[in-house]
Point group: C2
Chain length 248, copies 2
DNA sequence: TAGTGGTCTAGACCACTCG
DNA sequence: GAGTGGTCTAGACCACTAG
């Protein structure tokens, strides 16, 4: 029996997924325990089996559940649960970890796309960009440098004041201009801090840094920005991988 | 009209997905072009619309397609296409990039789980493990160190000879013992090479390294191994992020 | 053999986008 | 308003797992 009816704005499977997640977080079903069968859940929550399957799949994608053909559907161990690693801004990601995100804006200026950057972003070389360079901090401690190149658009008016106000470039793009990041490609490696990095992050030159390059695309897969991020060793980047088939 | 019937062993939606991917790779539909509507595809390929939707979703998960409510289904730009980033072994990943994976086995020996490792793996402290330390190389150039701790099982007989023969720990676990990695959690950061790292990788002590820690789980979410990987700056770790909802 | 998840179908209606 | 993807249903059968 449904504990509560789904809000009219929400789909039934999302509502069911939330119900199931709540049940799990309450500790009613523990790690690696089986859920009731899909047919039972369908009856209990008064939805079709297909709707149950959608809810289960939704939670599988988020690492909350996993299903085994012929055996059942189970609660994923806490280690992987909620390791969603979807698209996220530094600010949002940091507060999700219980920290306070900060920034010191070093630079907001027009720039032109270099050959390399144009290729990555899929725009013409020389295309107008807006460069934004910032020191990012968590709980007032500097942890990294962000060097972003946003593809300029006529309606886009990014200035230091607006950025300072919102504290998050993504939030500014979304709320100010309706630009919504939908997908991103990232490339991680290690590098030594150069003289400038060292000075800004207050570490010796040559110190190890985690370098993350990112290209962000809009819902229509138009390029939004290229960003190079350099982090101190204390910064940790977490992710979850699934098999999802037999690609081996 | 279907070009060819699906093999009896394969599901129809996987077959359709392969057909669509082939069509795209042939260049018949270019980046950001729209596919025929789901209803049209269902008619063309003589399947139900639901089967079309499953095929499309399958390719969306792999970064090949994306759909927009009310607009259509489109081919993802080449930048994100085929950036699947599912669970993969070093060997497989390397050959997918066109390189030849190599290894030099430094150590295969029994070990006991430390407190920290026991917590990560979800086993008792002191639990029997098998430690495997290797230098990994691409095209005969050393690129990283792998230090793996495999959870020992009675049926599991890992020795240097077997590992040398297969060249891949995952392949050995899969083909030798039917242990299939299903999910993994990774944690990346930067670190300086210590004296031992430096010697093994032939770089100065203090050089920047990309450190990747990974816990791998089986299909039943039993712990398989903990592995710490350290890579030179030339090694690149690529990933793709999606929004998948409104978690911002 | 009974029970589970996986696939497939046909049809209905809703929500969104765009000319 | 016409066309698109998104949700939901009810029922059938297959493939796998376990006692």
């Amino acid at each position: 029996m449904p504990a509560e009816e789904p809000a009219p704005t929400q789909s039934r499977y999302r509502w069911l997924a939330d119900e199931l997640r709540r049940t799990i977080e309450l500790g009613a079903i523990v790690d690696n325990d089986a859920l009731p069968s899909e047919r039972d859940l369908a009856e209990q929550y008064e939805v079709s089996r297909d709707t149950v399957r959608k809810a289960v799949r939704y939670l599988e994608e988020r690492g909350v559940l996993y299903s085994d053909h012929g055996r059942g559907t189970f609660v994923a161990p806490a280690l992987v649960r909620n390791m969603s690693r979807f698209l996220d801004s530094f600010s949002h990601d940091t507060s999700a970890r219980g920290g306070v995100a900060g920034q010191k804006i070093l630079l907001v200026e027009p720039a032109a796309a270099s050959l390399a950057m144009a290729g990555l972003l899929g725009v013409q070389p020389g295309r107008a960009l807006i460069r934004i360079k910032r020191i990012r901090s968590i709980d007032a401690h500097p942890v990294g440098l962000h060097d972003a190149y946003v593809v300029a658009r006529p309606e886009l008016h990014i200035d230091r004041a607006a950025l300072e106000r919102t504290g998050s470039l993504y939030k500014l793009l979304r709320e100010g201009f309706g630009v919504l990041p939908a997908e991103a490609v990232e490339n991680l490696s290690a590098a030594a801090a150069d003289a400038e990095d060292a000075k800004l992050l207050q570490v010796p030159s040559g110190s190890p840094l985690l370098v993350c390059e990112r290209v962000t695309l809009s819902e229509r897969r138009e390029p939004i920005e290229y960003c190079q991020m350099k982090y101190l060793p204390s910064y940790r980047y977490s992710t979850r991988l699934s098999r999802h088939g037999f690609e081996s």
